[in-house]
């Protein structure tokens, strides 16, 4: 091994980070070369100087800053006393997967304006229930008075009340397996006259 290459490996040799073959080669060179022995001693002394540095000690203020969240929780628990402990027993802290849901904005409104949220929910329920109720009432009515009369009633109404929905009338009539106005009922199995 030449002098230049050995010089480049010395630093890793000091740290015992060379392969076995490299280590042997450097050791052989060190026996021959006084300059490299000197450089090696210097490197080792420099490394030992750094390794001997005492660790820098952070002040108490530093610990308070990075342990802040833990300390706050500890003091909060201590000050809450028995009431806090009872509450913690009855309502344990939310599980991890709920915490992300709780971060969404909407439950915040529920907390601040419960009345508003309740009214909104009721209106939504009423709007979705209205057609169901009305449809049922109309179907009962149609079967009660008979198909032709029901459709006739509504056909008359349409002239005076243009807002009545024809499609809706048709739907109710079809649903109840009624024959639409204008068609006479055909007896079953009498398709060929």
């Amino acid at each position: 091994m030449n002098h230049h290459r050995a010089g480049r490996l010395l630093s890793a040799y000091v740290d015992s980070e060379l392969t076995a073959a490299e280590t042997r080669a450097v050791q052989a060179h060190l026996l021959d070369c006084a300059a490299c022995r000197d450089a090696y001693e210097n490197l080792r002394a420099a490394r030992d100087l750094l390794a001997g540095l005492p660790p820098a000690e952070p002040e108490g203020e530093f610990w308070a800053a990075i342990r802040g969240p833990v300390m706050r929780r500890a003091t909060a628990a201590a000050s809450a006393g028995w009431a806090g402990r009872l509450r913690a027993q009855l309502w344990p802290a939310p599980r991890a997967q709920w915490a992300s849901v709780a971060r969404l904005p909407w439950p915040g409104i529920a907390g601040r304006r419960p009345g508003l949220v309740l009214a909104g929910v009721l209106i939504a329920l009423a709007l979705s229930a209205l057609p169901l109720v009305r449809g049922t009432v109309d179907r009962l009515h149609a079967t009660e008075i008979g198909v032709d009369l029901y459709v006739h009633d509504h056909a008359m109404q349409m002239g005076t009340a243009p807002l009545v929905d024809r499609a809706y009338v048709g739907l109710v009539a079809g649903d109840a397996e009624l024959v639409l106005a204008g068609n006479t009922p055909r007896p079953v199995g009498d398709s060929v006259r």
């Binding site: 890793a12 740290d15 002394a45 030992d48 100087l49 390794a51 990075i66 342990r67 929780r73």
Partner: protein
Amino acid sequence: MSETAAALALMAPPEAVKAPAYTAEELARYDGIVQRYARHVYNIAYRMTGNEADARDLSQEAFLRVYRALRRVEPGAPLESWLYRIVSNLYIDLLRRRPKARVESLDAPIDTPRGELTREFPDVAANPEAVFEREHIDGAIQQALGVLSPDLRMVVVLSDIEGFAYEEIAAILRVPLGTVKSRLHRARQVLQVRLRPYVAARRRGWQV
């Protein structure tokens, strides 16, 4: 509050990134991480920045990130690489935000309107006893570290001061093993020259 702390606060105001409410076990886990790594993180930060205020700000920012990411950290997973890489990256950020803080050669004469001045250093020969006091040698080593470029300094701090193996350093800094070797080689060449009297004394068997 120092300039760094203010800059860090601007970068990530604590109110904006609220950490989720942690359970007692999670807080205990965070506390465990603090107990285990805080001294090392602070020590590395201190040797990199060379002053307490910056070291404190860097370490605090690093642990703030740990705190925010606590749920993503597997319990018991070794955090060394991740944490020390954060410190390294935070330090590089710090240098970027402070372009004025440049490394000056201590030997170079300073230009003043009244001519050139050279810095005066305590003469080793004049008071040989005082030079080898603990504080003095700490200061001298810190000064020598400050002369190195941040890349070289980080490798030296991780290897010689924190005692990591080359492979671990390569993993922390995400550089090839050969780069760790060559950086350490170059760094030690510089340090040896800067610390010549101490190196010589050490070779004669002197210990603090």
